[in-house]
Symmetry: C2
Subunit: 201 residues, 2 copies
DNA sequence: GTCTATAGGCCGATAGAC
DNA sequence: GTCTATCGGCCTATAGAC
């Protein structure tokens, strides 16, 4: 059996990941350094390298942890009665700015780019699969609105809302939120009246 | 009269701005340093500070230059026969990734944030004013699709397309381009049949 | 306007003791 | 697993000569 020693490394790893996440959220990826992370965590900077290797490795480890949390929240949204609006709701939380920060990082770092690109595509594919069903129930032709387009639109609009809000630019944001909420509800209202009733098949 | 000496500074300033822009496009804002810029321009790094002051001042000067170019291109698009589709066309050019890079920079730099936020809002307001007319001509109720929402959607979708393309993630991009192109053309076809014909008023 | 020189600082990463 | 010590490097910015 594994006797949990007081410091077997997993606690330290968590401290380091938490510190990295906080700096990245507050000041952006460019402010992340082994020294700043260590200071934030109350550790020595060498421990960052001991536990994670290079800084890129640290970024990747943090991304994987965040992705896991996100996938669980997404799963709950997509398996709810209103997958479209529920995904929208969790997508416009300030938390999403964190995703954009990783994308900004990945665009210019070869070592993490591929993994984040694949993760992005995979998430979109999952959403599209669920949305395809919802759109079908709503009697919306996939020619008129492909499910993958709906997934893209939700990602693009929510990311831009959150990023611009962080920037302090919110021109038109209220109108956008109202517009999208209404449109997505129209889809799900239609899906409910047609699809959910087992008799209608 | 101002006798144009061989080096009155304006040529050097252009060299420095060009070098900064190239590094920012190729490697992102985090790769911009006075030394890297000077190396790219074939100059000494001290000249960067002599001509622009701090690095934030340099970023702002570059932003202002890019904004000016962008406003001219936008003006041409918005005064064309098809302002909506023309704006979409120039928005999805790879050049737009440059804008996203500035936004990513501004989110975490107080000194440049306000100016870029104001610029972002101002651009959107201009677009909305032109679109309001186009939507009116197309007999689209502003309750159904507010002009500012259309401007936001174009900005959000184009930025996300360009950023994800740079990331190497292009899941659903072709479908999105086809979908948006069609929708925007529907608006402008309707505007043409109703609005442009002077007899219809 | 451009040069040399330099102050003062943060960075990633490794070696070796415990 | 955590410590001390340290290498080599890049950074912003300024001072002062020309």
């Amino acid at each position: 059996m594994k006797t949990a020693h007081r410091s077997d490394g997993t606690a330290t790893r968590k401290l380091i990941l938490d510190a990295t996440e906080k700096i990245m959220r507050d000041e952006g990826y460019a402010a992340v350094s082994s020294r700043r992370v260590a200071e934030q965590a109350g550790l020595k900077s060498q421990l960052v390298h001991y536990h994670f290797g290079t800084m890129d490795d640290l970024f990747l480890a943090l991304y994987r942890r965040s992705e896991e949390e996100w996938l669980q929240r997404q799963m709950r949204a997509l398996t709810s009665a209103n997958p479209v609006t529920e995904l929208w709701k969790i997508s416009i939380e300030p938390n999403s700015e964190f995703v954009s920060e990783f994308i900004a990082l990945a665009v210019h770092r070869e070592t993490v780019r591929e993994e984040i690109a694949r993760s992005n595509d995979r998430t979109r594919t999952i959403q599209a699969a669920v949305f395809a069903r919802a759109l079908e129930d709503a009697r919306i032709d996939s020619e008129d609105l492909p499910a993958e387009v709906l997934a893209f639109i939700i990602a693009a609009l929510s990311r831009t809302l959150v990023t611009e809000a962080a920037l302090g630019a919110s021109s038109g944001h209220d109108a956008v939120r109202a517009f999208i909420t209404r449109r997505l509800q129209q889809i799900e209202d239609a899906a409910r009246t047609h699809g959910d009733a087992l008799s209608a098949t």
